[in-house]
């Protein structure tokens, strides 16, 4: 494959960013919108050409193994002779899949935003930032080395910051963007230190070198240990903290719900489908090394399992529909993390061919989740657009007014709940099968989370579209959105219906060899039953206005309040950052600087001043005084001479 198309995939969004960013102010809105959409459309077409030709051209498969193709790899910065940072384009199955996901969702969002953002100030700036984000995210997934990934990792962080803070006149948006950036920056510190350690021992950043021979990485790290864990484990866990930040794992999840302050299409693109799965992608990228770093996979599994449950519980008690979706995103990403964590690189377990099922399932879920979660977010955007509020209390009974939104939203809910034949069913089934394969506990635990997922999604669905009509509709009748907004909904809903039938294992596996998926019947039956029961429960509770939810809430008031307040994580962070770091550390250092260090310097000046005023009397200009001092001096000198020499 020539390198022209891959370069264009990156260059077009970058060019659009510069064009719209620098010249956007002088362009009319329409031109900007059309340019943005056309640019992204071209990028999407190119990405599909590249990805599909990668999957289907025989030249990329040797002996049944898909090759990792280094399309190009340019030196960008050389730290030492051996430790060199390259910028390049690595084409392999997960990269090709991500190219399709990112460009598809990004294109849908570009199109959707044309309707959604039409009346907002800074329309041009918005499209420029979207292009910047697309560029950074594409750069991240095509990275040939971990440092390139880190570079684009920071760039997606800043694009996310800019887009969350898009409505910068609102203080809440400003603080949300700041929070998102700082929390992920803190996580990136771990990522950076991890890279420092790993590159120090392996003397390379290159993914291919590290993942093709993880045994050597382990050998290079040697037997050095630190606090009971090997250096490699430390490095990999630290790198994973970067992923925890971006993918909003506990305890670094706090920024994602607040990030919903950004425009809704942005939430769909960045905070549901693409950027937040960067952590999963990172683990998948380094998968063989994670497998060999003892303990790191267990860490990932545990973090994922706790986060998945926590987020699902919290999602049951939120009022803002975007926050419900945000917590559901956290929970679903945690699902992918657990699935990766339980995957192993050994092809056989208990004599059965296994081959990293969890890895494949995780990637599969990443793919399906991106589609249906983007659909749900865009649907939520349509609702907010119609009702002008984020609260479900202002909605209810909307199914009659917004049929397109209703049906597409329902498809999204069915997909995320894991109902056959929607896409979520297939990917979730594979993930659960992998978990049961690893240990029954993880399987059972995550099945429970899957049940909670079905429950809170249908709670949301019923509260929005059924329950009781908001009386305000009489004054202001909600209606479906313009075609630019409806079209992406319909396309994504169609994808969510059929994506499950893609033989995903044929394309994306950890060792890049085809893997035949088959539905694990017992697992599928269990999870389907649980999901159906959860939906039934939600139907009973929320289909029509009834006092049951109120009674349930009063049964466990403390639990409801705690879940509604997200188990007080924000308050804890608030306390640590404001009271301890700002209030105690920073203030005391600033005080110390002014009143100790600076005062010492001033003290020198004062002492000099005092000394000079103390002795300036000698220089009085008074002849008698001079004579007197002369005699005193002479007598003293004579005295000393006499004492010493005579």
């Amino acid at each position: 494959m020539g390198s022209t198309l891959p370069i264009l995939i990156l260059a077009i969004p970058l060019f659009m960013f510069l064009l719209l960013g620098l010249g956007g102010v002088k362009m009319p809105r329409k031109v900007c919108g059309v340019l943005g959409i056309l640019g992204m459309g071209t990028t999407m077409t190119l990405a599909y050409i590249v990805a599909l030709s990668y999957f289907f051209c025989p030249e990329f498969t040797v002996d049944g193994v898909r090759q990792q193709v280094m399309v190009f790899d340019q030196t960008w910065l050389s730290f030492t002779d051996t430790l060199v940072v390259n910028l390049g384009f690595l084409l392999d199955p997960i990269c090709a899949m991500m190219l399709m996901v990112i460009t598809t969702i990004s294109f849908m969002v570009h199109l959707y935003s044309w309707g959604y953002m039409e009346h907002e100030d800074g329309f041009q700036r918005y499209y420029a930032f979207l292009s910047l984000f697309s560029f950074s995210m594409l750069g991240l997934v095509v990275a040939t080395n971990i440092f390139q990934m880190y570079i684009f990792w920071e760039l997606v962080g800043v694009s996310s910051y800019l887009l969350i803070g898009f409505f910068y006149k609102l203080p809440s948006a400003v603080s949300a963007s700041k929070k998102a950036f700082i929390v992920t920056r803190f996580a990136d510190l771990g990522f950076l230190i991890g890279i420092l350690i790993l590159s120090f021992y392996t003397d390379t950043f290159n993914f291919v070198e590290m993942t093709s021979n993880p045994g050597q990485v382990l050998a290079e790290c040697g037997g050095a240990t630190f606090m009971g864990a090997s250096v490699l484990t430390w490095a990999m866990v630290l790198i994973f903290t970067g992923g925890m930040g971006k993918s909003a794992m506990m305890p670094l999840h706090i920024w994602l719900p607040d990030a919903m302050e950004g425009p809704t299409p942005v939430s769909a693109l960045i905070h549901a489908a693409t950027m937040v799965v960067a952590g999963v992608y990172l683990v998948a990228r380094m998968f063989p090394v994670y497998c060999i770093a003892e303990g790191s996979m267990t860490f990932i599994t545990v973090v994922g399992a706790i986060t998945a449950f926590y987020a699902a519980v919290v999602a049951c008690a939120q009022i803002d529909i975007k926050r419900v979706l945000a917590f559901s995103t956290i929970s679903q990403i945690a699902f992918m993390m657990v699935s990766l964590g339980v995957a192993t690189d050994s092809p056989y377990i208990k004599g059965e061919f296994y081959g990293g099922l969890g890895y494949m399932a995780s990637m599969f879920h990443l793919f399906t989740h991106a589609m249906f979660k983007a659909l749900l977010f865009l649907g939520a955007g349509a609702l907010i657009h119609a009702v002008h509020s984020n609260d479900y209390t202002k909605m209810g009974g909307l199914r009659k007014y917004m049929p397109i939104t209703h049906w597409t939203f329902l498809i999204g809910c069915l997909a995320i709940a894991g109902i056959w034949p929607f896409s979520g069913f297939f990917s979730k089934d594979e993930m659960l099968a992998a978990m049961f394969e690893s240990h029954w506990f993880w399987g059972a635990w995550m099945t429970m989370v899957a049940g909670l997922t079905a429950f809170y999604m249908f709670r949301l669905y019923y509260l929005i579209f059924w329950w009781e009509e908001n009386p305000e509709y009489k004054h202001h009748t909600p209606h479906d959105s313009p075609w630019q907004m409806s079209l992406p909904l319909i396309i994504l809903a169609a994808v969510s219906c059929v994506a499950g039938f893609i033989p995903f294992g044929e394309f994306v596996t950890w060792n890049r060899m085809p893997y035949h998926i088959h539905i694990e019947l017992p697992v599928a039956a269990t999870s389907l039953t649980v999901a159906v029961l959860a939906i039934a429960l939600a139907t009973v509770m929320y289909r029509k206005k009834n006092p049951l939810p109120e009674r349930m809430r009063n049964l466990f008031p403390a639990l409801w309040t705690a879940a509604h307040r997200r188990f007080y994580w924000d308050e804890i962070y608030q306390f640590i950052t404001h009271k301890i770091i700002f209030g105690i550390i920073c203030k005391s250092i600033a005080w110390f600087d002014r009143h100790v260090i600076d005062a010492t310097m001033d003290g020198f000046a004062k002492i000099t001043n005092c000394a000079s005023s103390a002795i300036k009397g000698f220089q009085s200009g008074n002849v008698q005084a001079y004579v007197a001092w002369y005699f005193i001096g002479a007598v003293l000198l004579a005295g000393i001479t006499w004492l010493c020499f005579i």
Binding site: T75, W76, L77, S78, F79, T80, L83, F147, I151, F152, E154, L155, V158, G165, Y168, K169, L170, P171, V174, S175, K178, F181, I182, R185, F186, D188, L189, L192, I193, L196, I197, S199, F200, I581, F582, I585, C586, K587, I589, A590, D593, I597, D598, T600, M601, D602, A605
Partner: protein
């Protein structure tokens, strides 16, 4: 031939500018501006030409340590020469100075009162700075160093704001205190190096070859490092920086933070480390502790300041601490990072101070509590401020990222626990930096407009735009295409690294 040497022109042009300004009438603003614009453009052109010529010669395989060398005796009894020569690092420093002088000229387009006198001192300051970077005779170097320091006193004392007399006095006295140490150190280096042709030499290339008496090296290292460290805002000698910057006029802050503080870092490696390698190996740990403190301490202090200039002054303490920290790691990658950080910090701090000056000129306050939502009122300045902020917190694609990463990856090469701990502390600064930068951006630029009077303010004028665009282009240029600069610097470090390694095994603590 004196005038045949390209380097001499870096001093001659400012002197001609001084003369030209002397001829202008105090009231004719246009004449003064013309002199400044022509002069600073000439300097910038000269710097670019020098840079190209230097790279061309290197490309041709000329691998002398210093190029364009020349030496002219100017005080025979003490064997003092006007000796000049540049390696890659000095070339980049000259470039940086020329860019900042150029940007500074436009940033002080409307200086008031006494524009003529302001620019006279400004030119004298530039003379000192350029002279310092071209010299390889340590006495001449010191002389230019002093030439650069003195105008600062008047520039702050006369054209400054706030407690200007106090700050000017404090800055000058503290830097002079540093100079006193430095003088002792330099005299020591001179007298304690072996004689050449029956006389002690001041030429640093010769001294480096001959070596300084080992029993005295440690004391001399401390003297010179502290002397230069004061100017490099090393903890605990940094307190002149917040007050000095806060009171200085825009262009002076720019030149001071952008270039003058670099004199400190430059001197540290060119004299302290290069000439006294043995002592550098043995004593680096003391200064690693101090600069390590600087990095974190400056960043934390910046978090609670409310005056824009104080925030940037403390941020400079942190970033300049990073420069010295990197240099003290005594390996090629980290030291390269240190120089990159000097360039990066010079450009972005100059940009910051230019923008603060422009904002202050409109709102008449620098207190972030009394401003807000400026992005809506002056979008151009707001965007520039954000870019400067992103450069400061190390966003890829801008210069700060390249510099910091080179420093971290270089410093991490030292495998012992002591270095590791300090490197990890230093990396923490990337988070703290993000905190204070975003805090300022959030309060100053975003959010609702705080003061309705600000709504009538205007955006940047053409000369302000020119000044900022120049700096932003350089910042983005280094950030996007760092490798040629990186390689130039790395190549220039070879003799210094060789000197350090010749002294034997690196001192382990």
């Amino acid at each position: 031939m004196l005038f045949g040497n390209i380097l001499i022109w870096f001093v001659i042009i400012p002197v001609i500018m001084l003369a030209g300004l002397g001829l202008c009438r105090n009231s004719s603003m246009n004449a003064i501006r013309s002199v400044m614009v022509v002069g600073s453009t000439a300097l910038l052109g000269l710097a670019i030409w020098l840079c190209c010529d230097f790279l061309r010669l290197r490309e041709m395989g000329v691998d002398d340590e210093m190029l364009f060398t020349g030496s002219w005796m100017w005080y025979a009894p003490l064997n003092i020469h006007l000796a000049v020569g540049v390696d890659g690092i000095s070339v980049l420093m000259l470039m940086l100075s020329a860019i900042i002088v150029f940007a500074g000229t436009f940033a002080s387009w409307k200086i008031n009162p006494l524009p003529k006198n302001f620019f006279l001192w400004f030119c004298l300051l530039s003379t000192g700075v350029f002279g310092f970077f071209i010299s390889i005779d340590i006495f001449t170097m010191f002389m230019f160093y002093e030439v650069a320091l003195i105008p600062m006193y008047l520039l702050i004392g006369v054209w400054g704001t706030g407690r200007k007399e106090y700050s000017a006095m404090k800055l000058t006295l503290m830097l002079m205190g540093g100079s006193a140490f430095l003088m002792l150190g330099l005299l020591g280096i001179h007298w304690l190096s072996p004689e050449v042709d029956g006389a002690h030499t001041w030429n640093l290339l010769e001294i480096a070859k001959l070596g300084v008496d080992e029993s005295w090296q440690r004391m001399l290292f401390v003297f010179t490092f502290v002397g230069f460290g004061v100017l490099g805002a090393m903890f605990p000698f940094h307190t002149w920086s917040p007050d000095g910057h806060a009171c200085a006029p825009t262009a002076v802050s720019m030149l001071h933070a952008g270039v003058l503080m670099k004199l400190g870092g430059y001197g540290c490696f060119r004299i302290s480390i290069y000439l006294l390698p043995q002592a550098a190996n043995e004593l680096a740990w003391i200064f690693i502790i101090l600069t390590g403190i600087s990095i974190v301490y400056g960043a934390f202090s910046a978090c609670v300041q409310t005056d824009l200039k104080y925030i940037n002054a403390y941020s400079s303490v942190s970033h300049c601490g990073m420069v010295l920290f990197a240099l003290l790691m005594l390996n090629q990658t980290a030291m390269t990072g240190g120089i990159l950080q000097m360039l990066s910090h010079g450009l972005m701090t100059a940009l910051f101070f230019a923008l603060i000056g422009m904002i202050y000129g409109r709102t008449h306050t620098r207190d972030i509590r009394q401003m807000g939502g400026l992005m809506r009122i002056m979008p151009y300045l707001g965007v520039c401020y954000m870019i400067a902020g992103f450069a400061s917190l190390g966003l890829p694609g801008l210069s700060g990222f390249v510099a910091e990463m080179t420093i971290f990856f270089g410093s991490f090469q030292d495998a012992d626990t002591f270095h590791r701990i300090f490197v990890i502390c230093a990396t923490c600064s990337i988070v703290i930096t993000a905190v204070y930068i975003l805090r300022v951006v959030g309060k100053l630029l975003l959010g609702p407009v705080y003061d309705d009077h600000h709504l009538s303010l205007t955006d940047a004028t053409w000369f302000e735009r020119l000044s900022t665009v120049t700096l932003i282009l350089c910042i983005a240029g280094i950030g996007c295409f760092p490798n040629w600069i990186n390689e130039t610097i790395q190549a220039s470090f070879s003799p210094i690294i060789a000197a350090i390694q010749n002294t034997g095994i690196l001192a382990a603590i």
